[in-house]
């Protein structure tokens, strides 16, 4: 059983040593050496000034990959129902809140609290882009990318219009870092359409599989794939970078992986 065909209209990637898709593609293909470097994130200009000043890694990262994917698709952000998928959301904010709650004063900042909801980046996205379409925010631990992709594909078919996927993860500081050692923030954005358009780059069909996942040849990229849930998509992105048709299996749940067939 596979999904109806879905068409990729826009794509973006932002992570260590890969500041955008143009920089990432040759590294995924092994044409240029990959070196993980600290991720540089700018505060998004489209946020109102107050929110821009307070924006943390999660908001900056999710907004950057979302805007890049929308631009790549030649779409309008306000028109796209969207899916935000992340294992921990804003991990720095979560840590700060836990520290305050463990202190004797427990002076919780109202801003920190409303930023602690898992859908805070989606809320800021709506405010910044004026998108009033359906928006959901998911978590599936290590299966977070696959969960987001499935939600976006089924949403696009159900709504009969293109939808935006923003899958992103941020890193916890210690002490939670020891229990959830995500090394770098990384995000990927995709605009997926239920029908082929002039912007369609590739056609995808998804099905559940119990095959082993496709791995990355480069040891550092493979380490990223295994340590950052949103990077579980890297084998798919490498296939997309190649411009060739093909098939990959990406990690989702341990007993339920996603086989993706890609045609032009």
């Amino acid at each position: 059983m596979s999904t109806a065909t879905i068409y990729l209209e826009g794509l973006s990637l932002l992570g260590p040593g890969m500041n955008d898709w143009a920089e990432a593609a040759p590294r995924l293909l092994g044409q240029q050496p990959f070196q993980a470097e600290e991720v540089r994130l700018a505060a998004p200009a489209i946020l109102p000034a107050t929110e821009r000043r307070r924006a943390g890694t999660a908001v900056k990262l999710s907004m950057a990959v979302g805007l890049a994917a929308v631009e790549d698709a030649g779409a309008e952000a306000a028109q796209l129902p969207n899916v935000f998928s992340s294992t921990g959301g804003d991990c720095e904010n979560c840590h700060s809140l836990l520290e305050v709650l463990a202190s004797s004063e427990r002076m919780v900042s109202p801003t920190r609290f409303h930023n602690s909801v898992h859908n805070a980046p989606a809320g800021y996205w709506g405010i910044a882009t004026q998108c009033t379409e359906a928006s959901t925010s998911l978590c599936a631990y290590d299966a977070t990318f696959g969960a987001g992709l499935l939600e976006t594909v089924t949403q696009a078919h159900s709504a009969g219009k293109p939808c935006l996927l923003i899958s992103f993860d941020t890193a916890y500081p210690e002490p939670l870092h020891a229990l959830r050692p995500i090394p770098y923030p990384l995000g990927v954005g995709m605009v997926l359409s239920p029908v082929r358009t002039a912007a369609s780059k590739a056609a995808l069909r998804l099905s559940f599989s119990q095959e082993a996942p496709t791995t990355m040849d480069d040891a550092q990229l493979e380490a990223l794939r295994q340590s950052i849930p949103s990077a579980r998509c890297l084998p798919l992105l490498r296939l997309l970078a190649s411009g060739q048709p093909g098939r990959v299996v990406i990690d989702y749940l341990d007993d339920c992986r996603l086989a993706i067939e890609l045609t032009a």
Partner: protein, 397 residues
């Protein structure tokens, strides 16, 4: 939209464990909110607490998942014969054809709140027995339920604050419509924790008394906890008395992180979309279970949206005066209160509300009315401007 059948459902909240105590509470307008010192909170707080969670022992093979949230999940699953109904569905369809989509706002973060108080004074490390993945991570409750039934299909937690466990009905509906699965366990589980009690207090959104939805003197929420579970399947040959999910509407306010659009534009869009998917007109709806959190701005925005779409005749009420605001579980709990209302012909009168706000022109029920119902609508709206409305329909007369 392809309708789905609720082939089994169950509720656990401050009103009790299982449907019978909920139906009794709705009929008698009994609330479950109490004033107490909860955990290490330094002030009295009115909460809708589920009784007996400290005594719940998780099934032995699932011991690593032990935390308040998963204890509540297990207690909830054990009510109303829900477990055998799921096992029958798994036998019928196969373990890989049953999905798990649950809503939660804070999952088991209480475990990390406690663990942060027990950090090693030298290294700062958390206690070695702390299990982040199985307790704190947002996915932990879906992981627990999926493991509980030995399932191998798709799963996720939707975490969109107070609309979370309404939106899972949409996720499951789309997944089933796409043919990827045949059935889904949906619902929500959220438990009391310091994050929400101190957090909502910091925003001055917590009432010092049990909450009073749509009251002229309302002054905030009462935080509650609860678990709601439903089994959804295709409704190929609906029988008289079946409860169907017939409409799902979702929208975003794109307005503010913690305040609703003042005219309730996002709420109105979600309700209109749910009606459109169900193929119904506003006049077809017999009862609306309001989000009705009892904060001044939330109820004002929702009242304006309901008035704009339905006029002032459709009976409506909030059941947050009964259960407290169960946050990520609220959408699921109130969706299943709608199912209970349809099954039993009960429109619950509000609890806690004394004098209706004269500025909110809607037919808010102050006493329970018993009469057969056909179509009901449930509203759930959350922080970040996340809105979801669901329509449920009872088949036959």
């Amino acid at each position: 939209m392809q309708a789905l059948r609720l082939s089994a459902y169950t509720l656990t909240s401050a009103l009790g464990a299982g449907l019978a105590s909920h139906l009794d509470a709705l009929r008698r307008q009994r609330g479950g909110i109490v004033r107490k010192r909860w955990e290490t909170v330094e002030f009295d707080v009115c909460v809708g607490e589920v009784a007996g969670l400290d005594e719940v022992a998780l099934r032995q093979d699932l011991a690593p998942y032990d935390c308040r949230n998963n204890r509540l999940a297990q207690l909830g699953l054990e009510q109303d014969g829900f477990i055998p109904r799921v096992r029958q569905a798994v036998q019928r369809y196969g373990a890989s054809r049953v999905g798990v989509f649950l809503g939660s706002s804070t999952s088991g973060i209480l475990s990390s709140e406690v663990a942060y108080r027990q950090r090693d004074p030298q290294s700062g490390a958390l206690p070695p027995e702390h299990r982040y993945r199985e307790t704190h991570n947002a996915y932990s409750v879906a992981d627990f339920v999926r493991s509980f039934f030995g399932l191998a299909g798709p799963a996720a937690v939707v975490s969109t604050a107070c609309s979370s466990s309404a939106k899972v009905f949409g996720t499951a509906q789309r997944m089933i419509e796409a043919g990827l699965i045949d059935a889904a366990i949906v619902g929500g589980v959220d438990t009391l924790c310091l994050t929400t009690i101190y957090g909502f207090s910091s925003l001055q959104l917590v009432s010092s008394n049990p909450c009073r939805p749509f009251d002229g003197e309302r002054d905030g929420i009462s935080v509650g906890e609860g678990a709601a579970f439903a089994l959804l399947e295709r409704a190929e040959q609906p029988q008289d008395g079946d409860i169907l999910l017939t409409g799902v509407g979702e929208s975003s306010d794109a307005y503010h992180m913690s305040s609703p659009h003042p005219e309730g534009l996002g709420a109105k869009a979600a309700m209109a979309q749910a009606l459109q998917q169900a193929g119904l007109a506003p006049g077809d709806i017999d009862y609306i279970n309001l989000h009705g959190t009892a904060t001044p701005s939330n109820d004002a925005a929702e009242g304006a949206a309901v008035l704009a779409l339905f006029g002032n005749a459709t009976p409506c009420s909030s059941t947050k005066g009964h259960t407290g605001h169960t946050l990520g579980a609220a959408g699921g709990i109130e969706a299943l209160i709608c199912a209970l209302a349809l099954d039993n012909g009960v429109m619950p009168g509000g609890v806690g509300t004394q004098q209706l706000d004269s500025r909110l022109q809607c037919n808010y029920l102050l006493t329970t009315v018993e009469r057969p119902l056909r179509h009901v609508l449930n509203n759930s709206f959350g922080f970040g401007g996340s809105n979801c409305s669901l329509v449920f329909t009872r088949v036959g007369a």
